[in-house]
Point group: C2
Chain length 150, copies 2
Amino acid sequence: MPTLKLMDVKSRGLGGLDGILGFHLRLAHGAVYRHFTETFANLDLTQKQVSALWLAAEEPGISQVELGRKLSMDRATTMTIVNRLQDRDFVRRERSDSDGRKQALHVTPTGLAALDEAKVCIAEHEKWLKARFTAAEVEKLVEMLTRIHE
Amino acid sequence: MPTLKLMDVKSRGLGGLDGILGFHLRLAHGAVYRHFTETFANLDLTQKQVSALWLAAEEPGISQVELGRKLSMDRATTMTIVNRLQDRDFVRRERSDSDGRKQALHVTPTGLAALDEAKVCIAEHEKWLKARFTAAEVEKLVEMLTRIHE
DNA sequence: GGGCGATTGTATGCTCCACTAACGATTAGG
DNA sequence: CCTAATCGTTAGTGGAGCATACAATCGCCC
């Protein structure tokens, strides 16, 4: 038996870590995150910002807490996201008339234009991501991921 | 047709975002990340640190670049991870004798003990995560996630 | 209707992670 | 032997998550 140390691990060589589901989830997330960042480099938008902008556009007048809840962010984190979007004139805050505690978020025309651009990039990004799966697999994957995060 | 605006979106209310695979991946990652952090609060270890420690233990003498490659981290990020592990006396750096540029990483007995503790927590964490899937589903999920990150 | 607890927004500060750019040391190859 | 590539290291930037604290507002209960 000659030395076959290099055969002990598979090509990537992750050893026992290879059986950890959470580990693969983190690596996959990282890979997608990297590709996303590349795709959105010229738009200068992050995943969070796009998600928040998208949601705010779909639900005009949504409060920050509600936005944060849907994206699983706490209030402080939501603040920084909304702040950045507001600094770039993508959304504006407006005191809710029905509840004085809430800020009603509204997407500006500038923000809508940015969102339209972003959606094109998202489509491209999703195409890259989904290219490795069949439609049925994508559906199954989304369903399983949903079981994790919902 | 009365107003059924509230029926337009599903319970979570994600609207068009619901069809985006990358979005679900990010949410799922976030949920797992949160649970991981809870589970490891007393050990004061992060996912990255555990992964790095685990890998270093399985491949004694591994170089930092190699470690970073397997965990998809660049050199700078790997540095900060290894620094933290070294500060806590979990690993030690040793100049490689075969290649003067490389640092050979070795896990200390202290680090091994911490890793053993961590593996118990990992098992618990994985159990929580996998509870929502059948064994076949877990296998399929890992396989699909691998297609994304490899 | 008055007070109290809950909710919301906000500000501050900490930690972690990822990336870039630079520099020095070392190695490998033409 | 000299040049290009690799590796470790440092410093700086930015996004994101979280805890805490505080003020304003709302809802509810007595």
